[in-house]
């Protein structure tokens, strides 16, 4: 059980819950619910994405962050909990993927190669979301060309095919396609992870501009703290299906309250020096979502673990102006 959604945020920074665009309450995503070994990819997660902000979900393999993205789009089985977009409950909609699209949610995936039909010319892929509402093929093509220019591609790209484009260019095309139906919330599911860092930053610059100019809200899913540090206004750190820390980006990065957040920060290869104590490095391998450790799921890797951590699962509670789930959060003091 987590703290009641809405009240915690109001306590934190006085922002009214009415600004909340996407609300996830006590979400549990389970694959293979009726099979012999159901996998709970996401367990009791509550999050809020506020209009005009960028919430970053950061975690490694098995954290459940991609499952949350899919659950929002109706592509993952929700066992419990609700997902509400602008007051409308997506989880009980009859056709969840269509409902998500109609409510203004779009998603950009990691691999631009498989996200674009190799036999369609670029403009057709970009215009695909418009098929239902814009009957004229010429109109669609024109709108696709305008979108390509918005994402920094010359019109001539519209008649080419995906294999003729570089990775970064293809990703711009998928972004253009996501913008076609004028969405309100764009989910970026590891959208820049497959790109070289020089291209990655260019795409982040583009996304930043688009956000301001089109009034978008982002849900950024990533394992890369570097990209998150640049883009996020709010961060939720996930491990093995649970949120372990959440709050404003600057606070979480500058003074992490959870040891796993420390570990993620410590592993970012920077040249400007570590900002966390290397002794927070985790031990061993990431756990198995199908068989999570008892108590605190991170305790098997945590350098700060005590007996209580193995026995009792910590609850999310406010600590130093953000929420975190760690028994020892109060004692932790950063250098």
């Amino acid at each position: 059980m987590t703290a009641p959604v809405g009240t915690a945020r109001a306590d934190l920074d006085g922002r009214a819950p009415a600004d909340c665009l996407l609300r996830i309450s006590d979400l549990t995503v389970t694959y293979g619910l009726r099979s012999r070994q159901p996998v709970h990819a996401v367990v009791d997660v509550s999050l809020e994405v506020h209009t005009g902000r960028t919430l970053a979900l950061i975690g490694e393999s098995g954290s459940g962050k991609s499952s949350i993205a899919r659950a929002i789009c109706g592509l993952a089985p929700v066992e419990r909990g609700t997902i509400t977009m602008d007051g409308y409950e997506l989880t009980t909609a009859p056709d969840r993927p269509v409902a998500a699209g109609q409510r203004g949610i779009q998603i950009v995936f990691q691999d631009p190669v498989s996200a674009l039909d190799p036999r369609w010319s670029v403009w057709r892929s970009v215009a695909e979301p418009l098929l239902r509402h814009v009957p004229s093929s010429d109109d669609r093509r024109e709108r696709a060309m305008v979108l390509l220019e918005r994402v920094g591609l010359d019109r001539s790209f519209g008649d080419r095919h995906p294999h003729q484009l570089s990775g970064g260019q293809r990703q711009r095309v998928t972004i253009a396609r996501a913008l076609a139906p004028a969405p309100r919330l764009v989910i970026l599911d590891e959208a820049v992870s497959a790109l070289d860092v020089s291209v990655r930053n260019e795409i982040l610059v583009l996304l930043d501009e688009l956000k301001r100019e089109e009034g978008l809200t982002y849900l950024l899913i990533s394992h890369d703290m570097g990209a998150v540090a640049q883009m996020a206004t709010d961060i939720a750190v996930m491990y093995l299906g649970k949120v372990v820390e959440s709050g404003e980006a600057a606070r979480v990065i500058r003074e992490p309250a959870h040891p796993y957040t420390d570990a993620l920060l410590a592993s970012v290869p920077t040249v400007s020096g570590d900002i966390v104590d290397p002794s927070f490095r985790p031990r061993g391998e990431i756990g198995d979502t199908a068989h999570p450790p008892p108590g605190c799921r991170y305790h098997t890797r945590c350098p700060l673990a005590i007996d209580r951590c193995a026995a009792e699962e910590p609850l999310m509670r406010p600590v130093r102006e953000r929420l975190t789930a760690c028994h020892r959060a109060d004692e932790k003091v950063n250098a």
Binding site: V197, V199, V205, Q230, A263, V268, P269, G273, I275, I286
Partner: protein, 340 residues
């Protein structure tokens, strides 16, 4: 002191529809014994081809010329039977996707033993003991159990440790790691890099570490070579390149490295894309993307020493020396000797 590995004027061409296209052009690099050298560049810069050239595992349509000398032995044009004695025994290689790089229908033990027995004549029990020792050395818990397991039972990080053990199983003194951590989770990435460092320091092996991530390379390597469009554009000790980079491309790469001190600030990347091997610009290959390009850049650029132990391929290097530098770094890992 003669270098452990000396690559001189390496040129690798690929046959594309009858035309020979150069993917590596006049690349020279030296690695001393016990040194960890990083090779940094974007996708398509020729980094992987360089590694494959050392092992003479280039694809069919590729041809290499120049010179690659490993421990005094010229590798180019060596007959296949002698190359087999070099691969595994003198140089070991670790690839990018560790789970895919292991044979899915054989146990880890079977593959590791094959690597051991390929170059040594040990009794069965000795070989097995060595296998367990190797797995323990790379930090795998329960090594005997791992021998019986199949690759799909292991995580990416564990598979990469197995790969490293296999690469060093026959006592190779040079390890080439081609983007070994790119597909791994970040906390595991960090562990693998530190493992490589520990192995290098403890046994004195040389390492060629290839990556597109300058930050990662800077944490591990003594020296760095920055590669662009098939050529080395800057090379020198890591600290020098980080504190006083001279080539505009290196400076641009440094700007792309994440900086956790500035939350909420989006950094620019490098606009444009690297040129394709078949369509290189005239003169300096970085010119189309360089913010400092002038008329002088229309001539082909030469790699020349510009300072002590610091080679740069840019005619304006000294002129621009103080322009566009990144924040002076304060690395916490000591870069010379001694691991952590």
């Amino acid at each position: 002191m003669t270098a452990h590995l000396a690559i001189s004027n390496l040129r690798v061409t690929l046959d594309r529809q009858g035309e020979a296209v150069a993917v590596i052009d006049d690349l020279s690099l030296e690695i001393q014994e016990g040194e960890i050298v990083g090779m940094v560049g974007e996708s398509g810069s020729g980094k992987t081809m360089t590694a494959l050239a050392v092992l003479q595992l280039l694809p069919r349509r590729a041809h290499a010329s120049g010179s690659i000398v490993l421990a005094g032995q010229e590798l180019l044009d060596l007959p296949e039977s002698e190359l087999r004695q070099v691969r595994g025994a003198k140089v070991g290689m670790v690839f990018q996707e560790p789970v895919a790089a292991l044979n899915p229908v054989f146990t880890v033990g079977a593959q590791l033993l094959a690597a051991i027995n390929a170059h040594q004549d040990l009794s069965r029990s000795d070989a097995r003991a060595r296998a367990v020792e190797l797995l323990g050395n790379v930090g795998l818990p329960e090594p005997e159990l791992r021998l019986r397991q199949y690759p799909h039972h292991l995580s990416g990080g564990m598979c990469q440790r197995v790969m490293i053990a296999m690469a060093l199983a026959a006592g190779a003194r040079l390890l080439i790691a081609d983007e070994p951590t790119t597909s791994l989770d970040v906390t595991i990435q960090d562990e693998i890099v530190r493992l490589i460092r520990r192995l290098a320091v403890e046994s004195g092996i040389s390492v060629l570490f290839i990556s597109h991530d300058l930050g990662l390379v800077s944490r591990l390597c003594h020296r760095v070579a920055v590669v662009y469009a098939g050529q080395v554009v800057e090379t020198g000790p890591t600290r020098t390149l980080l504190e006083a980079p001279m080539h505009p491309y290196t400076k641009a790469l440094l700007r792309c490295v994440p900086n956790l001190h500035e939350v909420g600030v989006v950094h620019r990347g490098i606009p444009g894309t690297p040129p394709l091997p078949g369509s290189l610009p005239e003169g300096c290959r970085f010119r189309p993307r360089c913010e400092y390009a002038t008329a002088a850049c229309q001539a082909p650029q030469v790699l020349e020493p510009r300072a002590d132990d610091h080679l740069v391929r840019c005619v304006r290097a000294l002129e621009l020396a103080d322009v566009g530098r990144a924040i002076p770094p304060t690395p916490t890992l000591p870069l010379q000797g001694g691991g952590s």
